[in-house]
């Protein structure tokens, strides 16, 4: 097939990371995750946007995959890791059937198609529901039976109960920053998870991360990290969210491509985080103080 060479596509439960993602642990999150995974305790990641939640889950899936491979599949072929990572970005129109699956018409009959959650449950991978509060309430109830001792997924439309495969683990992420009262997790949902809190890394680590990811030298990375730190001080003063590590990395990448630091920060940090003019000016002042 000629199309295959044009783009790479994966079947959702077969997506595995081939290379170790870059991740710098900030606290004990790696140990926590490993411990939780051993007991198959579902996890919830709380933290502002762009602080590395997704990267962390990728990192863990790779890391745990390696371990699984070592223990169980040492004699098998070169498939490498085998802890699939199913990422589902939640949006406000995401419904239960989007997750579980639905009937489709094919010819004269209906055909059942598994949703991503069902596939993850079957395949026994990590199912990562990103920004879960955005999803509709019915979806969050749907995951309840998966998260306690039952570890089952009821598929009511087919009248089935699906038992989760051995390796399955549910991980949610949510950002408490912009939660409105409406978009909060129900207690019955929250109390089924082990929570790991994320925050932006301290300046030294962030320097290291930015330097690695963006390919800029330590000095620039330090300055970017400092910018991040200063801008985050403005949270609660009109800024909904501080400048994320991701934004700082973007800025760093622009810089390493030859954009002047001030300009790079302006477009990737300042204008990305606020539309408020006076706040933009304040941040411009910070940028112009930090960068020459």
């Amino acid at each position: 097939m000629t199309t295959q060479s044009l783009y790479k596509s994966f079947i959702i439960e077969e997506y595995q990371l081939q290379e170790e993602p870059y991740y710098v642990p900030i606290a004990d999150e790696v140990e926590l995750f490993e411990a939780a995974y051993k007991s198959r305790l579902p996890l919830i990641f709380k933290g502002p946007t762009g602080c590395g939640k997704t990267r962390f889950v990728e990192y863990m899936s790779y890391k745990l995959g390696i371990e699984l491979t070592k223990v169980k599949k040492s004699d098998s072929d070169d498939s490498g890791v085998n802890l699939p990572l199913v990422t589902i970005a939640c949006h406000e129109d995401l419904t239960g059937s989007d997750l579980v699956g639905r009937y489709l018409l094919e010819g004269d009959q209906t055909v059942w198609l598994d949703g991503p959650l069902t596939r993850a449950v079957k395949a026994g991978g990590i199912c990562y529901l990103d920004e879960v509060v955005e999803a509709r309430k019915d979806t969050t109830v749907l995951i309840h039976p998966l998260t306690d001792h039952r570890r089952i997924l009821p598929i009511e439309k087919r009248g089935e109960l699906l038992e989760a495969a051995e390796g399955f683990l549910l991980v949610l992420s949510y950002n408490p920053g912009y939660q409105s009262a409406l978009k909060d997790l129900k207690h019955s949902t929250r109390q089924r998870f082990v929570s790991i809190e994320f925050d932006y890394p301290p300046i030294e680590l962030e320097t290291q991360i930015v330097a690695h990811e963006a390919g800029v030298d330590e000095d620039v990375a330090y300055q970017l990290a400092k910018l991040g730190e200063k801008v985050r001080n403005l949270k609660e003063h009109g800024l909904g969210e501080g400048a994320s590590t991701r934004l700082l990395i973007y800025a760093g990448k622009l810089i390493s491509e030859g954009i002047t630091p001030r300009r790079a920060c302006q477009v990737s940090v300042n204008w990305a985080i606020t539309d408020d003019e006076s706040l933009q000016q304040s941040i411009t002042e910070i940028i112009s103080s930090i960068f020459e």
Binding site: D108, S180, S282, S288, S289, E292
Partner: protein, 1108 residues
């Protein structure tokens, strides 16, 4: 005996017929008459006297005066004029003897100032004023009497003019004329060379507005001295032109103008008046406004820029007269904008939001930014209006920066200043801990402290052995206290540190320089972007330093350090004699430039530098004894304290460093502070911080011994940071005052319980300028001036208050009253809810397929008919996401009874005077108290109750606010239920307290409601205005006459809301509302209720319709 002497005797006999004084005066006079007179002349004189005396019954008095003054009159003029004088007198006497008497009486002193040839004209002037009436006679007499004084300053021609003026004025009012005569003598000396202009202006004024003449005179006397002498003429001409072009209240205007001019530099009078003259041709009324605004404008602009601002104003004027007037009054945004564009200065107000955020970001703390005068006003020890500073939580910066020619440079300066102040917080100047170790130096602080205590104890022991222990002597007492001071718990670590030094001032100065140097180095390292501006500011500051060679040695050493810190250690001179010490100091100071240096390092460095400098006598250094200090980049990694350091410290430890100094040396005086670094008061700042913490602790009921006022006062007296250069008693007093204020200040930051009481009204004149929201919970808004087609910037203050709480049963009672309606409404509203979740079927695309529809589709296919492809369903996506703010008019007019059926009377006749208005209001409210009928406000309240009941059923976000107010500085905005607030018993209680208050200034209230809605997240936002009449308020109009002003401002406020995506709806019960509502809500919905009783039901119907 000659004939003449016989004649004489005959005449004398004749004289005897008159009352005694005539003859007496004659006898006295004749002896004084000059001998040169011939007997004939004497006879002639005598005869004229008799003529005068004989004219009427009362004319003997005139004659008596005639004789009395004659000798002195004749002495000042030749006989021929004397004859004329007598003739004039005689003819005046013919008119009125009193007049003649006054004429004679005033003559002697007048004649010395009056050219003899003017005698007749002078007499004529008096005569002219006399119109045969009693009042005119008084005036004329007074004119004569005042002449001598007037002639001191006026020429005769001017006197004539003045007399003409008096004459003209006397046609209107004799009293006024006479008063002006009196004022004249005070004023003319002040008028200087411009009397002609002044007089002609006065004369013109008689024709156009004679009533103002007197105040014109008074104003003139006050106004003229304020103006540059050469420009007074032009000023008067201006005033005259203003009169001619129909200006009113000329005296007031003159006073205002001159007041403004006096605020300007005298050199500028010429230019400003020049503009004013041209402006007069454009628009006479704008001229005074221009001059009045000039001082404000010139604070921000140079005189050249003023010209451009003026030109812009003229342009505006030519397009729109009212706009131009507002421009020159600086009551338009355009005017401000032009000023801002032209000005090179940076104004605190404009950049505050940006810089405050900047500072917060840098410090990572709740920093506030304030102008320095705010700190000075608090009176807690900071005194300079200019110096930037910080007290630990607020950064104080100057209100205006206009040091450089361009805005950019000024801005850069401002930024450097702010950055430096924030650096104190960011890099921890105030987190000094006495016992925390320094990383760069050996720690000597504790050691030194121990030595000092030992030394003190020793001294005390010596004393107690010497003196009777039972009766402590004064010095012993002092030391005891000193020791007690060292042993007690220190209030702050900073204080503990400074207690180590005998000369706290010197120690503080050194500490300041070293610490500032550390911060500067740190900032430049951490913020490379600001480095260039920083270096620029530093080198500018360096240029402004005082001449180091004039300073005595010790001060010179400190100055030397300042320069080092500003100049990056290059080319700084020091006294040759102390080169070694200077090098030592430089070496120590330089170590703290390290990035890792902390405030404790600064302290250790201070200690060492103090030791070095304190050992230098504060003596004059001859100008030749200076040389450049060279600092090669010596490696000071291996810095060790020099050997003599131990010695020096020993001395400090003994408290002896002062004793060793030579007799008669100069006292160390603090050196001039570096401007951009400002006023550094570490002790006070740390104290403030601790006090605040302490206050918070108290709130939280934790332990901690509160600081007493006395301790604080004592601390302040010891501190070198306060400038308490006064006698002993006054120090006590002022430190007490500081202590008081500091306590207050520290407490002032505690959260305050909301004060629901109505504050007293502060009366601000409508003509006044912009307002500043000084208190919490106050907001300032612009107001639209439709004539000027521009906003009046920061014109109204909205005071947000929470409605007081009343009886909660009101709510339930009202619901009961409307029993059936309540159920009906509630059902209607509840029916709105399921609509939101209804499944929509038969869609081309959707969440999922509807199996029934699919089967039907299949059937269609099998049977061969065309299938319906719409077999998807979706939940109705139209989510109800509504936020609505109800604005209730709670003006006094809502107290109108509704049952009486009479048309609502317009409140337009409300008195304009604040006091009268309050009285008027009180009477009206008093009337309402005795009511047994329903008022409009009651209907509003009931509507709210029903509304809340309904809205709670559908879960919309809603806020209920009442507004009223009095004057633009008191727009009251009462929160009954805030948008984010959940419904509770408190809200129920608040509804009960909604009551008619004052006037209706809708614009600002709408703007504030819009502001609240903006901060609410909802898809549909609605502003619901419920009123009972047109917007009106004191001064909510132009010159108090145009009702349209208020209507237009309201319209503009509603338009603004629309631009923010907020739908407005106006519901009014004013039956005459159509006329203005058409304008006010031109493209918005509005409805006029015919029957106020329909309000509750109608409101809900409208609400449903609006939000569906």
């Amino acid at each position: 005996m000659t004939d003449q002497s016989e004649h004489l005797k005959e005449f004398v006999v004749e004289l005897q017929k008159f009352p005694g004084p005539v003859l007496d005066n004659f006898n006295r006079a004749i002896s004084e008459m000059p001998n040169a007179l011939s007997e004939e002349q004497i006879l002639d004189w005598l005869r004229r006297g008799i003529d005068i005396a004989g004219q009427t019954v009362r004319s003997w008095e005139a004659a008596a005066h005639f004789f009395q003054v004659s000798p002195s009159v004749i002495s000042s003029m030749p006989y021929s004029y004397f004859v004329r004088w007598m003739e004039c007198g005689t003819s005046l006497c013919g008119e009125s003897p009193t007049l003649a008497a006054a004429y004679f009486e005033a003559s002697p002193s007048t004649m010395s100032k009056l050219r003899s040839r003017h005698i007749e004209s002078w007499a004529g002037l008096g005569d002219g004023l006399y119109k045969g009436t009693w009042k005119s006679s008084t005036l004329a007499c007074r004119f004569f009497a005042e002449t001598p004084t007037l002639l001191d300053t006026l020429s005769f021609q001017q006197l004539e003019k003045f007399a003409n003026f008096l004459d003209a004025l006397s046609h209107r009012s004799y009293d006024l004329s006479s008063e002006c005569l009196t004022l004249g003598q005070q004023i003319f000396p002040l008028v200087g060379d411009n009397k002609d202009a002044f007089l002609s202006l006065a004369t013109t004024l008689v024709e156009t507005g004679w009533r103002e003449v007197k105040s014109f005179f008074e104003a003139g006397a006050k106004a003229l001295p304020k103006i540059h002498p050469e420009e007074r003429m032009r000023f008067l001409n201006l005033a005259e032109s203003l009169v001619n072009s129909g200006g009113t209240n000329i005296p007031g205007t003159m006073l205002d103008i001159s007041e403004s001019l006096s605020l300007l530099e005298e050199d500028h009078h010429h230019i400003v008046l020049g503009f004013a003259e041209t402006l007069l041709h454009e628009e006479p009324l704008a001229m005074p406004e221009f001059i009045k605004s000039a001082p404000i404008v010139l604070e921000k602009l140079t005189i050249l820029q003023l010209g451009r601002w003026y030109q812009e104003g003229v342009n505006t004027l030519s397009q729109n007269r009212d706009g131009g007037l507002a421009f020159f009054k600086i009551e338009s945004s355009h005017s401000e904008a032009v000023m801002e564009t032209l000005s090179s200065g940076i104004e605190f107000d404009r950049i505050k939001p940006v810089m405050e955020m900047y500072c917060r970001a840098l410090a990572g703390a709740e920093i506030k930014l304030s102008p320095t005068d705010a700190l000075v006003e608090k009176n807690i020890g900071w005194v300079s209006n200019e110096s930037p500073t910080t007290e630990g939580s607020t950064v104080f910066v100057p209100t205006v920066v206009d040091r450089y020619a361009t805005k950019e440079e000024n801005y850069a300066w401002f930024k450097v200043v702010s950055t430096h102040q924030v650096a104190h917080l960011e890099f921890g100047s105030f987190i000094f801990e006495f016992e925390r170790e320094s990383q760069l130096f050996d720690n000597l602080r504790l050691d030194l402290e121990k030595r000092r205590i030992e030394a003190l104890e020793e001294a005390q022991d010596n004393l107690s052995t010497e003196s009777d222990p039972g009766v402590p002597t004064d010095p012993g007492n002092e030391l005891l206290e000193g020791q007690a001071g060292l042993e007690r718990a220190w209030l702050t670590d900073m204080q503990r540190f400074f207690d180590l030094f005998e000369d706290r001032k010197l120690a503080l100065d050194i500490f300041t320089v070293v610490e500032d140097g550390r911060l500067d180095a740190r900032v430049k390292n951490e913020y490379p972007g600001i480095k260039s501006s920083y270096v620029q500011v530093q080198s500018d500051s360096h240029e402004n330093r005082p001449d180091i060679k004039e300073l005595p040695a010790r001060e010179a050493m400190v100055e030397f350090m300042v320069r080092l810190s500003l100049q990056q250690y290059e080319g700084v001179i020091a006294p040759s004699k102390y080169n070694k010490e200077a090098a030592q100091v430089a070496q120590i100071a330089r170590r703290v430039l390290d990035v890792s240096a902390s405030v404790e390092d600064t302290a250790e460095a201070t200690l060492r530098i103090y030791a070095v400098i304190a050992a230098i006598p504060n003596e004059e250094i001859p100008p030749d004894d200076w040389n450049d200090m060279d600092f090669d980049d010596e490696d000071d990694e291996d810095y060790v304290d020099p050997e003599d350091m131990e010695n020096l410290l020993q001395q400090i430890g003994m408290g002896m460093e002062m004793e060793l100094r030579p007799e008669g040396e100069e006292e160390y005086e603090s050196i001039q502070e570096v401007e951009y670094r400002g006023d550094f008061k570490p002790e006070l700042a740390q104290l403030m911080t601790e006090l605040r913490m302490q206050q918070q602790d108290e709130m939280g009921q934790t332990q901690g011994e509160p600081l007493t006022q006395e301790q604080l006062q004592e601390l302040l007296e010891n501190s070198a940071e306060l400038d308490l250069q006064a006698t002993e008693g006054e120090i006590q007093e002022s430190s007490g005052m500081f202590a008081d204020n500091i306590m207050k200040e520290a407490g002032a930051n505690m959260p305050q319980s909301p004060d629901d009481a109505q504050g007293p009204f502060v009366h601000v004149d409508e003509d006044g300028g912009e307002l500043e929201p000084a208190e919490p919970e106050t907001f300032v808004y612009d107001e639209w001036d439709f004539r000027a087609e521009d906003y009046k910037p920061r014109w109204c203050i909205v005071r947000q208050k929470t409605m007081q709480e009343g009886d909660p049963t009101y709510f339930g009672a009202t619901l009961n009253e409307y029993g059936t309606l309540v159920t009906r409404i509630r059902r209607q509203f509840e029916m709105m809810v399921p609509e939101m979740f209804r499944k929509e079927r038969k869609l081309i695309d959707g969440e999922d397929i509807d199996i029934d529809d699919v089967i039907e589709n299949m059937v269609d296919i099998k049977t061969g008919s065309s299938p319906d492809e719409k077999f998807y369903w979706r939940r109705n996506k139209v989510q109800r996401d509504v936020a609505v703010a109800f604005l209730l008019d709670t003006s006094a007019s809502t107290a109108e009874a509704i049952d009486e059926g009479k048309g609502k009377q317009d409140d337009w006749d409300a008195p304009d005077d604040p006091v009268e208005y309050m009285v008027w209001l009180r009477t009206r409210r008093g009337e309402q108290m005795r009511r047994s009928y329903k008022r409009i406000i009651d209907m509003e309240k009931e509507s709210m109750v029903l509304l809340i009941n309904a809205l709670e059923a559908i879960g919309d976000t809603y806020g209920i606010y009442g507004f009223s107010g009095y004057g633009r500085e008191n727009v009251e905005f009462y929160t009954v239920k805030d948008l984010q607030e959940t419904f509770s018993d408190r809200v129920k209680r608040r509804i009960d307290r909604i009551a008619p208050l004052h006037a209706t200034r809708m614009g600002p209230a709408i703007r504030h409601a819009v502001y609240k809605l903006e901060n609410t997240d909802a898809r549909t936002k609605i502003l619901f205005l419920i009123s009972d009449g047109r917007p009106q308020d004191r001064g909510y109009s132009r010159e108090g006459v145009e009702k349209e002003y208020a209507v237009h401002d309201t319209k503009m406020a509603l338009d603004e809301a629309k631009r923010q995506g907020i739908n407005s709806f106006c519901l009014t019960v004013d039956k005459n509302g159509h006329d203005y509502l058409k304008t006010m809500c031109s493209d918005m919905g509005y409805e006029i209720l015919d029957d106020i009783n329909d309000l509750p039901e109608r409101l809900l119907v409208l609400y449903r319709r609006l939000t569906m």
